[in-house]
């Protein structure tokens, strides 16, 4: 697994697609937060963490869309699946590499709290917990995008399916549906949304139910990806 993990991670660090996506993510994240910073007049990082799911919506599928789709298109998947390596290990290695790279991209935004510490009061435990929540959120999005990449040879199709799925998951936990959906349905729907569970981390709380939610959803999509790769039809 380590061999395949290193190979995938090396690809993202040495290929323009990888580091351009990471840099653009960091630039946009910083810009969208900083542009209203002085208008707001407070140094809270909450607006930054509120933007993150919407940035992940675009950047994670963009990063992940090639992970299996490109192997299928170029048929290197035939090499990989005829080596003595278990399919689950292949999936875990690719997932771990993607998650590691996403974490590095997220870490590129650490300059924000570091700078804000000099201009205002920051409660560091809340920020650390919020970053942890963002990391768990990115894990879910990576696993979903990886699943859709395993379904097709076409990276664009994988990208679009990932974005659509993640978008609907995000809005299920938002106020957007209040006008359309009865309250009792909305309350139940909320608990399925990553945004709802992400919210507790932004308050500085590590809710174990939310951790379990993120881990379960991540594992589910890794499992579905493995089932798909194991198919020999």
């Amino acid at each position: 697994m380590i061999t395949l993990f290193k190979k995938e991670l090396t690809y993202y660090f040495s290929n323009p697609v990888g580091y351009i996506v990471a840099i653009l993510f960091a630039v946009f994240a910083n810009f969208l937060f900083v542009k209203d910073l002085f208008l707001r007049g407070d140094s809270s990082m909450r607006p930054f963490f509120d933007i993150l799911p919407w940035l992940f919506l675009i950047f994670i599928p963009a990063l992940t869309m090639r992970i299996f789709a490109e192997e299928k298109r170029s048929n290197t998947i035939e090499i990989l699946l005829t080596l003595p390596i278990v399919e689950a290990v292949v999936v875990m290695a690719k997932f771990t590499a993607l998650l590691t790279f996403s974490a590095v991209a997220l870490l590129l935004t650490i300059s924000l709290p570091t700078t804000l510490m000099f201009v205002g009061r920051l409660y560091l435990p809340t920020i650390a917990i919020s970053y942890f929540g963002a990391f768990l959120l990115s894990a879910v999005f990576v696993s979903i995008s990886m699943f859709f990449s395993s379904l097709t040879k076409n990276q664009i199709v994988a990208f679009l399916l990932s974005i659509l799925t993640i978008f609907f998951l995000i809005i299920a936990g938002g106020d957007f549906l209040v006008s359309f959906v009865p309250r009792f349905i909305l309350e139940n729907l909320n608990s399925f949304s990553p945004l709802y569970h992400y919210g507790s981390f932004l308050k500085g709380l590590i809710d174990l139910r939310s951790v379990l939610y993120f881990l379960s959803l991540t594992v589910l999509f890794i499992f579905l990806t493995t089932i798909n790769i194991e198919r020999r039809d």
């Binding site: 190979k7 048929n75 080596l83």
Partner: protein
């Protein structure tokens, strides 16, 4: 060693393989020939467990290549059709990667000479000529001393000189390994194989000794494949 029993493979409604049955003994070099879309590649993929047959059974030394795939794949060196490679990697990176997965680097150094890739060892795969790429694919298949080699169109697209070099290498390897050589180049089979199988429209139409005399394989092929 390799046993296929009543293997059929359907892709939806389309029948790719129809009731294939044959046994391959240790040390044989099988020339597996057929026209385009006959089912050669599908058969190779079923043998290595990349595709699951719709009906029938495959065993390699008594093991199922799908349910016991790790044990089976440790014994097999596979060169797929069109030789897919990770183009962004350098040759040595790719071979090291394969050796790590196979957990066997014993013959990595000797393969450089054996497959003639010493001078391109530090080059990026995407920069190589087709001939060198084919040699890299073959080197990867040979890592770890596999007992069985499955080569799907190993000389496809190569010039005559390169084709001869690969053929000579296969002949040398055939002294110690069981080889299935899938190809539509009949002269290649005539030179290298000890036994011929001809497949047409998913069925084995001939399975036996090489016909005697130069051009014997071609005559037999033309007679059986219409």
């Amino acid at each position: 060693m390799i046993v296929l029993e009543k293997i059929s493979k359907y892709f939806g409604e389309k029948r790719a393989l129809d009731n294939l049955s044959f046994k391959i003994k240790e040390g044989e070099i099988i020339g597996f020939v057929g026209p385009n879309a006959a089912g050669k590649t599908t058969t190779m993929r079923v043998i290595v467990g990349y595709l699951k047959p719709t009906t029938g059974e495959v065993t390699i030394d008594g093991k199922d290549p799908i349910n016991e795939r790790i044990d089976v794949l440790k014994q097999i060196g596979y060169l797929p059709e069109n030789n897919p490679l990770y183009q962004e990697m350098k040759v040595f990176e790719y071979l090291n990667f394969i050796a790590s997965i196979k957990n066997n680097r014993d013959n990595l150094e000797s393969l450089k000479e054996q497959t003639g890739i010493k001078e391109v060892y530090e080059s990026k795969i995407e920069e190589l000529s087709r001939g060198y790429k084919q040699r890299v694919g073959l080197a990867a298949a040979l890592i770890g001393h596999p007992k069985i080699l499955i080569l799907d169109e190993p000389t496809s697209g190569l010039d005559p000189i390169e084709q001869e070099k690969i053929r000579n290498l296969i002949k040398t390897l055939g002294k110690k390994k069981t080889i299935i050589l899938s190809t539509h180049i009949l002269s290649e089979v005539e030179e290298v194989a000890t036994r011929i199988m001809i497949i047409n429209k998913g069925e084995i139409v001939y399975d036996g000794a090489k016909p005697k005399g130069k051009g014997g394989v071609e005559k037999l092929f033309k007679k059986l494949v219409k």
